[in-house]
């Protein structure tokens, strides 16, 4: 107890009953899939083996956890509810809000040299590539989708289709015609937004969940076509040997005319990684900048008005179809940029990279971050993608659970679990308040409860 009061017998009995019930429920839930395991025996038959120790260990942990929660945590929560709510936010809070953006921008710019200084030349590749570039791709995709979902309020579950169009446009055009990355980058953006308009046109009179499902269907159709149109896309096998980007024609190779040789440096794969890092960083900044500027243009205001109330928009004479199409095309264009960057970074693409799971990941980043909030989306991308990447690094767990324990297996498990938890904890996303782009007399941030729900 928080204030040292003894636990009464009634409370103890209730806590024990709750713990017993929770343990029983856990037992029932886990009995089939944790209690038993299907394995293939030496005659290649499927047999089932029991895992009682594991099952009972988990049940005991859950039961004990529930008991501890009702005895130790719940009384405190109750007390906290009784306490009056603090009146004004502290000045510290305001200072953080004001300086966070510039600090974050500065940090991402100096991130590669910082990592090299800390980890040395050899260890830096992993940190810049797996964490820096990987997270920035998702930040950019999140910001792109934010235009569609966060600003225009159109729920899009097939966003990855445009990412795929961008990636395949770059890969196919670069391999067939030998065009350079810098020419194809805008071209794949244009192609993606063309597909955005093409797919958007018939579906945009749908609303809400229906729109989400149709976009999901289109996303899957594009993926299935990529898989089955083997002549063009090489199907499941994917496209290999996609040209890498060059710095004004200087390739990042170990050759005599490669980057390292031209500048008289010792060859290292790190240069290309740093180069790619700054490309995706500038692409992400471009996305953010365009979004921020667009919000102030008539079209951006129309998007936000559309999100709040479509019927009111229509009665005020806004062409809702065109407004929605521009949002769709904008979002698709940035996905196309990100896609062509992805293709050139990997050098290899296959339909495996463009599954529904990717769309769900990007959408969850946007919603978890707080729809419409740029910083929120970036934070959500760092938490969700960085968090799952960190799971690869937890080798010390092998010492606890034995050498066969592989933390990477649990990545997506925890990812799904985190999505549910964050939604329950903050249904409006991490950053739920919004700065209005148009205001009367005085700028006030809007509480989440007042923001419309995007019935588009």
């Amino acid at each position: 107890m928080a204030d040292g009061a003894p636990v009464t017998r009634v409370e103890l009995a209730r806590a024990l009953r709750d713990a017993g019930f929770t343990a029983l429920l856990t037992f029932g839930l886990l009995l089939p899939l944790i209690g038993f395991q299907t394995v293939t025996d030496f005659r290649n038959n499927l047999i089932v083996i029991a895992r009682w120790p594991l099952l009972f260990a988990i049940v005991a942990i859950v039961g004990a956890g529930r008991l501890a929660f009702s005895l130790a945590v719940e009384p405190r929560l109750k007390q906290r509810k009784l306490r009056p709510i603090a009146a004004a936010p502290s000045p510290w809070h305001a200072a953080v809000a004001k300086w966070f953006g510039p600090f974050a921008i500065g940090f991402v710019i100096v991130y590669p040299p910082l990592v090299i200084a800390l980890n040395g030349f050899g260890g830096a590749v992993k940190w810049i590539d797996n964490f820096g570039i990987q997270i920035l791709i998702y930040v950019m995709l999140g910001w792109g989708l934010n235009i569609v979902v966060g600003l225009a309020g159109l729920l899009d579950l097939g966003y990855v289709a445009f990412y795929a169009v961008g990636a395949y446009s770059y890969a196919l055009l670069a391999k067939t015609f030998g065009f350079s990355f810098w020419l194809l980058l805008p071209l794949s953006g244009i192609l993606s937004s063309f597909w955005g308009v093409l797919l958007g046109f018939p579906v945009l009179r749908l609303r809400g969940d229906y729109l989400a499902i149709v976009t999901l269907a289109f996303g899957e159709i594009i993926r299935l076509v990529i898989i089955n149109w083997v002549d063009l896309t090489n199907g499941y096998a994917g496209i290999t040997g996609i040209p890498r980007p060059t710095l004004f024609g200087i390739p990042f190779t170990a050759d005599d005319d490669g980057f390292a040789a031209v500048f008289g440096l010792e060859f290292s794969p790190l240069y290309r990684v740093i180069f790619l890092y700054y490309i995706i960083l500038s692409l992400a900044f471009l996305t953010a900048f365009v979004t921020v500027r667009l919000r102030r243009l008539p079209v951006g205001r129309a998007w936000e008005a559309l999100r709040e109330d479509e019927i009111a928009c229509r009665s005020l004479g806004i062409n809702t179809t065109n407004t929605k199409l521009t949002a769709f095309a904008m979002g698709a264009m940035f996905a196309g940029f990100a896609g062509s960057f992805f293709a050139t970074r990997q050098g290899f693409i296959s339909p495996e990279s463009f599954t529904f799971l990717e769309s769900a990941t990007i959408l969850s980043i946007v919603v978890l971050g707080g729809m419409g909030s740029q910083i929120g989306v970036a934070i959500a991308a760092i938490v969700m993608i960085g968090g799952t990447e960190i799971m690869r690094e937890l080798d010390f767990l092998k010492q606890i659970f034995g050498p066969t324990f592989d933390p990477t297996q649990y990545r997506m498990l925890l990812f799904g679990f985190a999505m549910v938890l964050i939604m329950i904890w903050r249904p409006r996303g991490l950053i739920a308040t919004r700065e209005p782009s148009v205001f009367l007399k005085e700028r006030k941030s809007i509480s989440a409860d007042l923001i419309g729900e995007g019935h588009g």
């Binding site: 038959n45 749908l206 229906y210 549910v420 995007g454």
Partner: protein, 305 residues
């Protein structure tokens, strides 16, 4: 003609499975207006529960009678899957009821990712094949060396689906619970005012949806004899297509939609190209939503200001 007849039989079988899953989507959407994304994965979980129950019954307990084993498997799968869905509703959806519209959808997507990865981690990523449960078939007619057959397992699927649908129709149309469900569907606040326990009714809806998904899962396992952790997504989307095609919220619509989707899929595979059969199903989804959003039996969605 013979090919057509055979595909008709196969399509109705597949469609029955889709129809059973589709009822889960349509009921949940009807009552709380949410697309339960995890429903397809719940179906996959139920197939795994059925698989484990079947293996325990046949290899550990040595039950030789397939009919008895299948019956027990069906009951066990329904019980455990209902429990799973009951907990999912309590943990992942109930706290978000009345919250903003995207929150339950994201929570459901998270749950879907969680369920499929949970099965992958706990049971392994490989395909799980079992020896055929039911063998044998009726030959309906033979012409030009092409025999149109109706296998016993197809007959079982038809029979089980028909019996369960009848029981289920009775539940919704004639019992107190069904009345409460229909009341909540129309107006939750008003239903609560006249004494309907809304929370309990919604929980029961999830339980019924899960039980029907478990039937579908058991039938799927029996029909194909193999299941893997990623088997939830595509049947889930197709069943959702069926629910939309039949008119979301309409129960007979879900079953008829399921059978139509099953037929479209098998006919497409037989006459056009098997590679694009999923494309056909997804196209039906898109075309229905664009041109007939209320589906075949649904009420048109009236836009209120």
């Amino acid at each position: 003609m013979e090919v057509f007849l055979q595909q008709l039989i196969n399509g109705i079988t597949l469609g029955s499975i889709y129809g059973l899953i589709a009822i889960g989507y349509t009921m949940v959407f009807g009552i709380i207006g949410m697309v339960n994304f995890a429903h397809g994965d719940l179906f996959m979980v139920s197939a795994f529960i059925a698989l484990i129950a079947f293996l325990i019954l046949t290899t550990w307990l040595g039950i030789a009678s397939i009919a008895l084993a299948l019956f027990i498997v069906l009951i066990v799968a329904m019980l455990f899957t209902s429990l799973v869905n009951w907990v999912i509703e309590r943990v992942a959806y109930r706290p978000l009821r009345g919250s903003f519209r995207l929150a339950p959808l994201i929570s459901a997507i998270g749950m879907s990712i969680f369920l499929s990865n949970f099965v992958q981690v706990s049971q392994g990523p490989r395909n799980k094949p079992i020896p055929p449960m039911v063998q044998g078939e009726f030959v309906l007619l033979t012409r030009n060396d092409y025999a149109v057959t109706l296998s016993y397992k197809q007959l079982i699927i038809w029979g089980v689906t028909a019996v369960l649908l009848a029981a289920f129709w009775y539940l919704v149309a004639k019992t107190k619970l069904g009345r409460a469900q229909r009341a909540c569907e129309q107006d939750q606040k008003m239903a609560a005012l006249v004494g309907v326990d809304v929370d309990r009714t919604i929980s029961m809806t999830f339980v019924i949806a899960a039980a029907l998904a478990a039937v579908a899962g058991t039938m799927y396992l029996m029909y194909y004899g193999v299941v893997t952790f990623s088997d939830g997504f595509v049947p889930g989307v197709k069943a959702f297509t069926a629910a939309v095609l039949g008119g979301i919220g309409s129960l007979p619509g879900a079953v008829i939609g399921g059978i139509l989707i099953g037929l479209i899929e098998t006919m497409w595979s037989a006459y056009f190209s098997i590679d694009y059969k999923d494309v056909a199903a997804f196209s039906v989804l898109a075309i229905t939503l664009i041109f007939l959003p209320q589906g075949l039996f649904g009420r048109p969605d009236v836009e209120k200001v």
